[in-house]
Every structure is written in C-alpha cells, then in structure tokens.
Subunit: 332 residues, 2 copies
C-alpha cells in the first residue's frame, strides 16, 4: 500500500508530520511519498530514523492557503502540494492522499483531479465525534454548503459503508442532525431528507439533537456541511472554554491548587478522550481513491493515528462498498 | 406594569413558577395575571406569601404540548393558557406575557394573536449565551426554519435594539454565525446576509465561528433558527457531558474524591456561570408586545431572573426602538 503524504500546510511544520508518518510506518505496511520541500523533509526523515527504501519524494514549496478560492487555486497552482499529490494519487499502485492542507482545496482537488465515485454528487468530510461509548461519525463536517436532500441521502450511504468497513459495525444506525427528535421537525431540507432515509433499506433511527451528538447510540449522523461545522466548532469551543475556566479556578486559591494536583490524572484522561487530535483525521468520502484530511494543528501523534485509520479504510474496501450500495439504489 | 404569567407547561409544576414570580415581585414593581389552574395557583400564591392586591387569575387547565402542531393548536385550542394569555396581552395596560410552554406555540401565537411589528417578517427567539466576559445574545435561537437573508437582517436590527436597551451597549457589535471568519465563507444564505449587514449602518463585525460563540466580543450574533439551535444544543450537550465525565472520574478513586471535595466550590462557580438556567429566559423579538419564553425545566430562580430582564425590556422600550429602526431602513 502506498500513501502520498502532503507535508505542507501544517501549523506545526513538516517535522511533526514526518515524525508521525515514520512512527506509523513502524506499525503498518505502508510506503510513503512525501510531497513538500524535499530538503527539509529528507532531513526530517533522517532525524526520525525513516526507512529510505519505503520513502519517495515529490519536491515543491507551493501550498494552497485557506484564504484562497479553492477551485481557482486547484486549477491555477499546478505546483501546489495538493495538486501534485492528487495527480500522483491517480497513478496505479498509489492508494491514498493525506494532508493537513486547505479543506476546500482538498475537496475541490478530490472532485476535479481524483474525481467522484459514480452516482456521488458531492464528496463529504467525515469527522469522528468522541462520544461516551467511543465514537460516532458525522458527515458532512463542513465541506459542502447548500446541500440538497439527495446529497444528504448519499452521505448516509457513504457513512454506512465507512461504519461497516472501518468501524466494524454490522448494521450501522443512521441519524439525521435536526432541531428536535420528532418526525416533522426541521427545515425543508431535513424534512425531505428524513423521508428519503425513512424509505431506504438503511437502519434509520430518526432525528438526533445536537445535545445528543456526544452521547448517542448512533453510528452515523448525517448533516449538511454548514450545520455540521457549527455543531463541531461549538463543541470544540465549549470544551476549550470549560477547561480554561477550570484551570483559572484551580490556580486562584491554595485549596484549588491542591485539588488540581489531585485531579490532574482525571482531567488528563478526559482531555485525552475528548481531544479532537485523537479523532482529528477525517476522510473525504465520495472520491475514487482515499483522501484524508488532518487538522492543521495536528501533532505527530494525531497524524500517526490518522494513518492507521486510512490503512484500514483502504484495505477494507470502503470505496468499493460505496460504489456497490449506490449502484444498487440507482437500479431499484 | 402588568405581566401575564403562564403557569402551565413547566416540567417542575406551577409552584416553581409562582415562587419565582413572587420573589421577583418583591424587587420590581410588576402586577401579575396568572394563567392556569386557578385553585392550584392560588394555593401556591398563599404558600409563597404573594400580595393578593397585585395578582389576578385566568382559570384554565388546557395547555399546548410540544408535540402538537403549533399553528393548529393556537387556532383550535381557544382555552389553552398561551391563547388566553396572549389575548389578554392585547388589552391596554397589559405589557408582557411569560411562559415555559411550547416555543412553537408561543411563536405562532405571537404571530397570529399579538401580531408582528410593522416591517418584521418573522419573530425571532433570543438566547443570552453565557460567555467569559458576561453574555452575548444570539438570534434566532430556534424559532424559525428556512429563514431568508432579509429575515436575518431584521434579526440583526432587532438584536441591536435589545442590546442597546436591555444590555446597555451603546453601539452593539453585530456578528454573523458562519463556518469561517473570512468574507465569502458560508452557504448562499449567509453570503447574502453578510452583504446586507456590511451595507448597513450597524456596527457589523463580520463572521463568527461557532467555537467563538462563548468567547467573543460580539454583542449580537445573528443566525438562522436551524443553526442557532444546533450551536446551542451542542454547547448544552458538551457542558453536561464534561461534567458527567468529571464527576465519574472523581468518584472513581480516593484521590479523586479528595480532589473533588477541594474542587467543589470552583466547579460550582463554573456550573453557575455557564448554567443555562441563569440565562435561560429568551425574549421573542418582533412582536408588538413583550413575549418571553423560559425553559420548560426552569426553576424558581431561573423564572425570577427572566422577569427582571422582561421588566427592563418593557420599561426601556425595546419594541419602540425596533419599530423606529426598521421604519428608517424602509425609508432609506
């Protein structure tokens, strides 16, 4: 299995990504093509004891910024790491592309360079939400604005395939993010999507409210990218805020400082459990080959974890499963 | 000033609402008309030492459930507490209506019985988000699905009036809830709303991401009801989950138990600060008279707090300010 790793676009610099990749290579049988500033990356590979026989390089220093128009950038910046990497992904024997770069550019590149699976209208970003029972996947996590009920229905089929093949759930329970649990709640889009999902052969469990996102028994939660982004960032903001408040409270008194000392291991566990970095690698679902996006602030550990999921995604045939299920729906 | 208080629809029963109301009456010059089961309410008034000279009753035991179609219910259930209460609100000398009942029914009743302010297309629900610097108001918090950019623009004008008159901010900073801070981000609706707000005379500060909702310097954040609901419930869910995890962690070991004991006052402060009950009363903006909604699970304290805000809302003339500002925009 061969993965193309984009080393540009990371907030922490290429060294973190190289370290994470090399750590993953010790545990899973992947070869890697690093895209980025070859001199820097090669040095990082040496520093971290990478195996030169399993590593190739594509040299470039051009990246696509979050502020650029993604479609324009993909079309014009022929030397950008995402463009070069995705073109390389089109070659036979190359299985996946992994990047911390611009989500929009990855999505546009996925659509225009890698291309969509037949019957897929839009590729969707997945996020694995850290829940009390382990994890729930939500899609779309922010890639697509102005989605239609048909797109959301396809997201459900794609999510189901991922839950089956990567998470090992035999009959994934599908939910629809909505403003209330009752049938008939929501805006026009969610109401129509509800009807589509209800009429499908999937294990549709109905609407899910945002307050249950981290505490439900749903395997896959479907939403438009706008609402998905809002839910996710609201969660991120809440966690950050509460721990800041807690830290400030603890530092404010001797009693608090002692309490904090005793509490440290418990807080550490919770932070680890609900740390987006642990769950921070998101596949793009709907493209003909595997494309994964990691947070720009991913450290080596987060990046490494993403590679483990990606390896499973490829070897268990998620894309083939999506193709099969969507073509069956089309022929119904 | 006279306020109609709906005692039906509370999860905790009418006694909590009566106690909260009577506590508020000790501090602010309001007379009250209780709508609900007169026998029960009268007993609760006696139990809590209410002043009979400042209290009237409207007797009914009919309520509108959350599961009912709100528009249908408002039209057909002539004896429902919300319907009777809102009709009473139409009388001269009656200034406000306060209820824990169905949000949908309040909204429908506000539209059909109280009626909208001229130039207002949709009434919006406000929520005061507990933020680190005190509070930020967000609207619409879930009343309106399928809102248009024009509606959102009106929400901004209504929110601005509330922030000026109730929160005492001279030039409120207005934000738009969106998936990114840059101009050009979002779906069709938010992009068009951005342009409208940018072209207005308001102090428009641009887009706000959901992760900054609890930690921004915006006074008013505008959003469609669907996204507003998602953001709010995601926050509620996160807070609940983190404290559950913390409690479980603390109870799991002797060290944790001791830490927890030392920590208790700090946690209590944080919970109080971010407790929706402290901030749980939401005005409906856009109706010709003041209508406030409290959470169904509001206790006496939460209900009391809502009455203080409502009194300010009425005496400072929020509705008159909205009328003035909207008519100026219409004549531009």
């Amino acid at each position: 299995m061969k993965i193309v790793v984009d080393t540009l676009g990371s907030d922490l610099g290429p060294e973190e990504l190289v370290r994470g990749t090399i750590n993953a290579m010790k545990n899973i049988p992947i070869d890697v093509v690093f895209v980025g500033n070859k001199k820097n990356v090669e040095q990082a590979v040496i520093n971290n004891g990478g195996d030169p026989d399993r590593i190739e390089y594509i040299d470039t220093s051009v990246s696509i910024e979050n502020t650029e128009d993604p479609v324009m950038a993909i079309r014009r910046k022929k030397e950008a790491s995402i463009v070069l990497g995705l073109h390389h992904l089109n070659n036979e024997g190359v299985d996946g592309f992994y990047s911390t770069g611009s989500t929009g550019a990855l999505l546009a590149g996925g659509m225009f360079i890698t291309k969509r699976i037949e019957y897929v209208d839009r590729a969707a970003l997945v996020v694995i939400l850290p829940t009390r029972r382990g994890g729930t996947m939500m899609l779309d996590a922010g890639a697509n604005m102005d989605t239609t009920p048909d797109f959301l229905y396809q997201f459900a089929i794609m999510g189901e395939a991922y839950a089956k093949k990567v998470l090992g759930v035999s009959k994934p329970k599908i939910g629809l993010l909505n403003v209330g649990v009752e049938e008939g709640k929501g805006d026009k889009r969610t109401k129509e999507t509800y009807d589509l999902l209800k009429g499908s052969s999937m294990n549709f469990g109905g609407n899910v409210e945002a307050r249950e996102l981290l505490n439900s028994d749903f395997d896959v939660i479907v939403t438009d990218g706008f609402s998905g982004n809002i839910a996710l960032k609201s969660f991120e903001g809440s966690v950050k805020l509460l721990f800041t408040e807690l830290k400030e409270g603890l530092m404010g008194s001797a009693r608090g400082k002692l309490g904090g000392l005793l509490l440290k291991p418990i807080l550490k566990n919770i932070i680890k459990k609900y740390d987006y970095r642990e769950h921070g690698s998101a596949p793009l679902l709907g493209t003909k080959k595997a494309i994964f996006k990691a947070h720009g602030s991913s450290d080596a550990r987060a990046f490494e974890n993403g590679l483990y999921i990606m390896e499973k995604f490829i070897s268990n045939g998620v894309i083939q499963e999506i193709e099969k299920n969507l073509s069956e729906v089309q022929h119904d």
